[in-house]
Symmetry: C2
Subunit: 362 residues, 2 copies
DNA sequence: ATGAAAGCGCTAACAT
DNA sequence: ATGTTAGCGCTTTCAT
């Protein structure tokens, strides 16, 4: 024990990386202030002399000091973490949304967690009071997952900020396109080409994690058709489960009907890809024998020249993250009262490629 | 101050959800043991009477108690978090890997973080000593990202377990296919069809986050060709950047060469899709005029009938997560000595569809 | 503007 | 087998 001067001798500008990490106390003694002042200075709180703050920051820097996240959390009760819950990470749509959110969150200094909530069980486990989500995260982004009213309000009560994509929860920021409009756009486009025999490949109806989207698109499509005097019913729609395979069998069913459609609206590009496969299988030419329109503008839509209704998915994720962070900030900083959570509605855009075309003059 | 009995009156079996969370102390007093015993009991540590453990667990359950992660972290220094660093979340390959890892990690009770490390800068920021990664995560999975030797050993020193996918770091578990073999497989397949004029679309060479993979595949392909008396050189390879667009322009360049290839090996399906687009653009029939083989078995490979070398990506992520957890466990539990980190080599499989076929008899 | 001190809820020696 | 007691590194009143 050569050095009895306990912890006080902390003036060492030892630059050798990776010893035991400097603590707030090391910084405090080195800067000749109290830990409280260091804490204030580092977080930009008021009541710190400019000179003092500067000194503290410099010392912290030279000591390679960073507040320990665990300690901060324990003391302050905030996690500086954002979690996104998605039905699945597989699938272009979800992973793209996640990518958009990740960039924003990490950029803003939040840790970014993701958790798969593919089933109702998984969803409930996450949202359930027993998971203590509020101790793990400050904010939650739910993608195409609709929490129950109780779950949503419980989250708020527990201090977890919520924002949704593809759904709308009162009191929470949301990002959601106008799905009715999407349906109408598709109908107009197809009918504009002279098609009168229409089919639609819908998303899942049976195990509805989020049936709102398919419903709205269907309703928009039906409405658009009706405006042109075309009446559509259940017999014109098949469920494709938002997957390639589903899209393919749905197409087969549609085409096997007594009066097969000459144009098909697939509610997602992935299902449209399945439709294309089935067409090829039957030696039907897309855009001439049968027209197909999808939704998303999936990265491979252009590979197969799919006409589709584009939405800017990555943007959705990024915007949601920003809205969430804003909501958390506002709510904390000043009078979070009279803060109206924005319901962002991204625009969509029809991009025509070659899988749609004039109705065959049978 | 109506109740002087301080904290002792904690026998309330109040079942109303979402009050202030029960702490370990609540459990302790309710179970009439000390907090230490609760801690032991809850974590399955030895030296707890079976009866006691049962009682504690029951009480904890009835109190809806969960240890506070932040408190555990602070006290124990472990985060129960696993982080995966990927060059990007966009792109089927990475998001699929992440999906595989996510499932395993959350299943095993780890929080799951993801962080994009698309550039050298981002990578270094994450791995740099100044980021204090060890305070945020117990284990790191790096996907197609090669840390420097110093970074890797620094991680170990700092207590962050590392496992890699698509790379090999000494002392760390890894998941990596035999990329040379992939190249050879492709060469054999193409040459087996009688092709002698070969082209290859490689991954990025200039900004090499991970040039090992392209190099190995190329070397395997060249070797395979050489075995059949075909000599290949730089002039037969173009960089496609692992993207659709890159694949397309690479293909164009290849086809515009004085002696254009009749068969092309694309190192990823995405680049192969680009190749297919270029073929279509030139009215060349895949599998008859020009053969294309990819790597991955991307979910849309079958949509366009792409012949490819399948690897089970999601599995890679899952296996990596399992190996990582195992490594962390072993290292902690018993004699972590003489633990040899496994280098898992998943198998690949050629799946032939219609984009490859006999060489045209020009 | 700054400091002292009391926790935050847990784990880990060290008793017993 | 169980209890006692220090911390872990911060934030946050409350003084000054």
């Amino acid at each position: 024990m050569p050095d009895p001067s306990s912890t006080a001798a902390a003036h060492v500008p030892s630059d050798v990386s990776s010893g035991p990490r400097a603590t707030i106390e090391d910084v405090a003694t080195a800067a000749r202030v109290s830990v409280a002042t260091v804490s204030r200075a580092m977080r930009g709180l008021p009541n710190v002399a400019a000179a003092t703050r500067q000194r503290v920051v410099d010392v912290a820097q030279s000591l390679n000091y960073r507040p320990d996240p665990a300690a901060s959390r324990l003391a302050a009760g905030k996690t500086k973490t954002i979690t996104v819950g998605v039905p699945s990470l597989n699938g272009w749509y979800f992973s793209t949304v996640v990518a958009g959110a990740e960039a924003v969150c990490n950029e803003a200094g939040y840790e970014f967690q993701v958790i798969g909530v593919g089933s109702h069980d998984a969803r409930d486990r996450l949202l359930d009071d027993r998971y203590h989500l509020e101790r793990r995260t400050d904010g939650l982004i739910l993608v195409d997952v609709e929490p129950s009213d109780e779950q949503a309000s419980a989250l708020a009560r527990r201090g977890v900020s919520l924002t949704t994509i593809g759904a709308r929860i009162v009191g929470c920021p949301s990002v959601q396109i106008d799905d009715e409009h999407v349906g109408r756009l598709a109908a107009d486009h197809l009918i504009g080409f002279g098609h009168r025999d229409l089919g639609v490949i819908s998303g899942l109806d049976d195990d509805p994690m989020n049936f709102a989207v398919p419903m709205a698109r269907r309703s928009g499509f039906f409405g658009g058709a009706a405006a042109h005097g075309i009446t559509l019913g259940d017999e014109h729609v098949r469920n494709g489960n938002f997957g390639v395979d589903g899209g393919r069998v749905a197409t087969a069913e549609l085409l096997d009907a007594p009066r097969p459609p000459t144009a098909i609206f697939a509610m997602s590009d992935e299902m449209a890809f399945g439709a294309l496969m089935e067409l090829e299988h039957r030696a039907l030419r897309p855009g001439v024998d049968v027209s197909i329109i999808g939704v998303d503008d999936h990265e491979f839509a252009r590979v197969v020249k799919l006409t589709t209704i584009r939405q800017t998915i990555a943007e959705h994720g990024a915007v949601a993250a920003r809205l969430l962070i804003e909501a958390m900030t506002v709510r904390a900083t000043d009078a979070g009262v009279d803060y109206v959570p924005p319901a962002h509605q991204p625009t969509v855009e029809l991009v025509q490629r070659t899988t749609t075309g004039p109705a065959p003059t049978s």
